[in-house]
């Protein structure tokens, strides 16, 4: 688009909406990375801070909702502007949810002491890095209205799903070897599941970004291997 709105205050409202989404994304990304660092380093203080900081995400989500409703009421956005405001509204809800998953990981840090020596623990930071990168890319795509980049993020979710499935199988073998492993392995399994969910939610964000930018929905993509599906 060549020019901004004739009414400049409208551009300022939209800019503020995008800035708040970017801020939420930064906080959620940090929450994922910090919760994982707390887990690996047995750092209860960092875990506590992640839990505490989740309130900021909740507050930002409420602020974005307020602003989006205000833009709809006062500016009557049309076409791509309308799609963008609706996308911002939905993305804020999803990113808030991602924050909740990171918080849940942080909550398990103090409970997981016996799981230190379980090998899959060392795989989780890599999985967390993948999901964090996806979230980072998708928020960049939103800022740049880049449909292509959003579509690429969707492709990357398959690798996260595969990661989750592989950790799931490994943890099962640990549990079968020694029943003492069941409690810590279950915690690790939930953490892997949280990261897998973050990947899925990030994919939803990517779909919203794609829709906001193009006005059409992203086609059904190929999904990762579903560990719950019956084996053929």
């Amino acid at each position: 688009m060549a020019t901004g709105h004739t009414l400049k205050a409208f551009d300022q409202d939209l800019d503020q909406l995008r800035a708040s989404i970017a801020e939420m994304g930064g906080l959620a990304e940090a929450a994922i990375a910090d919760s994982m660092r707390a887990l690996v380093n047995r750092d209860v203080e960092t875990a506590r801070r992640v839990i505490e900081d989740d309130k900021k995400l909740d507050a930002l989500e409420a602020e974005i909702e307020r602003l989006a409703v205000q833009v709809i009421a006062l500016r009557a956005p049309m076409a791509n502007d309308l799609r963008e405001v609706v996308a911002a509204l939905k993305i804020a809800g999803i990113v808030e949810r991602i924050g909740d998953y990171a918080k849940n990981i942080a909550k398990r840090v103090s409970a997981i002491d016996e799981g230190r020596n379980l090998k899959p623990l060392s795989l989780l930071p890599e999985m967390a890095r993948m999901t964090g990168d996806m979230l980072h890319s998708v928020l960049d795509a939103f800022a740049a209205r880049d449909a292509q980049k959003a579509a690429e993020v969707c492709e990357r979710d398959k690798a996260v799903d595969d990661f989750h499935n592989s950790i799931f199988r490994t943890l099962l073998t640990f549990m079968m070897e020694d029943p003492h492993n069941i409690t810590p392995a279950t915690h690790l399994l939930f953490i892997a599941k949280n990261l897998e969910r973050i990947g899925d939610h990030t994919t939803n964000v990517a779909e919203m970004v794609y829709f906001a930018a193009t006005g059409t929905h992203l086609g059904e993509r190929e999904r990762g291997v579903d560990s719950l599906a019956p084996r053929s």
Partner: protein, 259 residues
């Protein structure tokens, strides 16, 4: 891009219509179908030609000496610019409502009865009473004026005057109603009443409306045509035009980036 929704039998068709005011080309090769079932809205910035185009549909431009129309416009397949076309009869079949309510300085009753009388649609007084009542009812004005039909039409409020003008257009039993910014002189309540009226009249008459108010186009129409610099830029389903226009110029206009 002259995208024409595919209707089985459009009420009016325009093909390659150009309009000149003297040497100046005001409309450039516009092709469009006006459907019976849908309300069609014409939007676009001032001077884009949307009103000029609307006025070609019942030959109102004939009254402007320097205006010249090229191309073909048909009503039910019949060329309205052919030499055999009776313009008075055409304007009865294709009625018009203007921006500013313009009732005759006569009674409410006479405002509505005038058209049917000159067209010889009613012989007995009872017939005429029936036409006046039916027209005022269809225009949503009957309940407000039935006890004072002999009062002057100009004594009504602006919104009532505009509905009186719609009743006047309806009275000659038209097939198409053209509206040129019918609400721009009205307050929001009177505007809502006219918009509701447009909904009620939809289907019975083919309706084309020119409006500067894009929210109004979104509210009342099922088809929207965007004009810019005398050309038809985009024509399509109203819901598509306002959520996902195909042409960059349309998008810039409806999102408030034009100019």
């Amino acid at each position: 891009m002259n995208h024409i929704p595919n209707d089985a039998a459009p009420k009016m068709t325009a093909r390659d219509v150009s309009v000149f005011y003297g040497a100046k080309k005001a409309i450039d090769a516009v092709s469009i179908d006006i459907s019976q079932e849908h309300v069609t809205a014409f939007i676009g910035p001032s001077g884009c030609g949307k009103s000029t185009f609307l006025r070609t549909l019942n030959r109102m431009n004939d009254t402007i000496a320097s205006a010249r129309v090229e191309g073909q416009i048909a009503l039910d397949g019949e060329d309205i610019y052919s030499s055999g076309m009776d313009v008075v009869q055409l304007r009865a079949r294709v009625g018009m409502v203007f921006q500013k309510p313009n009732p005759f300085p006569k009674s409410i009753y006479e405002n509505v009865a005038y058209g049917p009388r000159i067209h010889g649609l009613a012989s007995a007084k009872a017939d005429m009473d029936g036409i006046v009542e039916k027209s005022l009812k269809r225009a949503g004005l009957w309940e407000e004026v039935k006890d004072r039909l002999q009062e002057s039409g100009t004594a009504l409020s602006g919104g009532q005057q505009q509905r009186l003008c719609i009743a006047r257009a309806i009275a000659v039993d038209p097939e198409v109603i053209l509206m040129d910014e019918p609400c721009s002189a009205l307050d929001p309540i009177a505007t809502a009443k006219i918009e509701e009226l447009i909904h009620e009249l939809r289907g019975r008459y083919a309706i084309a409306i020119v409006t500067h108010n894009m929210q109004q186009a979104a509210r009342v129409s099922q088809r929207t045509a965007f004009f810019h610099l005398g050309t038809l830029v985009e024509y399509g389903e109203t819901s598509d035009i306002f959520t996902n226009p195909r042409v960059e110029r349309t998008k810039d206009y409806i999102t408030g980036r034009y100019g």
